[in-house]
Symmetry: C2
Subunit: 130 residues, 2 copies
DNA sequence: ATAAACCCTCCCATCATGGGAAGGTCAAGA
DNA sequence: TCTTGACCTTCCCATGATGGGAGGGTTTAT
């Protein structure tokens, strides 16, 4: 299978497949005589795994670790769970931070008349020292 | 005031002050005879405005627009409010997305035994086609 | 045989930030 | 006055994940 077909079948773009190979997240692809990368079903499977992991927001480093566990039939599920829960904690932190920003900004915005007058509590807040 | 002092006073690093100047977010700084950038109180004030806007997560483009309004004593607060609410909407969207990811992943993680056995619903989910 | 649609590698751009090199300037102390 | 260290300047490079595109080779279908 060509890289284009593999991309269509897995949802990972050719550009990204090459990139993942280059940085060592994926093994070097087999090549045809003319130098084209050639993939099989198990490669597609792996690409899909990476794609879905990215969709979940895992970093490439975490995905690397997940791929190793995925390939290891004797993996302890404990290790997978650890990675997942670490990512959940990271997401929690981001959500908490963004929510705080949103709430403060939303509060300020609702205090602003939003008409043609220049007075604006949003600008007043922004010029405050941090 | 030197760039280092201005940085310390405003919370914006020298690197970022130069960068903001380079990309046009901030006006070109006055220079001493020997070429050092020289700043006054109003510059510090402006840097703080940018710093706090960044802390709120505004993009540089949004900050550019905010700076124009900030400098305009006749601005309609309506325009400021619009920018702020657009950013709030963006934050809402991000929060919604991250929360969904977190919830799905958290659910999967809690279904995983997390012991020495290899069975793992997290890995099972990750290998699913998107 | 030719044209379209692939593929290859290599370089550049993003966005906001930091690191660091090579070289000039300023201030404080001996 | 000289030296030293802490500044400053510009320029280049790196991040993380992704896309765009150029220049050139290959495959496939008409």
């Amino acid at each position: 299978m060509n890289i284009g077909e593999a991309a269509a079948a897995s949802g990972v773009s050719p550009k990204m497949i090459r990139y993942y190979e280059e940085v060592g997240l994926l093994p070097s692809a087999a090549r045809t005589a003319s130098g084209y990368r050639s993939y099989g079903e198990s490669d597609i499977h792996r690409f899909r795994f990476v794609r879905r992991s990215r969709d979940f927001g895992f970093s490439m480093e975490q995905i690397g670790n997940l791929l190793v566990l995925w390939a290891d039939r004797a993996r302890p599920s404990k290790e997978v769970k650890e990675i997942a829960l670490a990512h959940v904690a990271g997401l929690d932190e981001k959500i908490r931070h963004l929510t705080e920003l949103r709430d403060v900004l939303n509060h300020l915005a609702h205090q602003c008349h939003g008409d043609n007058r220049p007075e604006c509590p949003i600008l007043q807040d922004l010029e405050r020292p941090a």
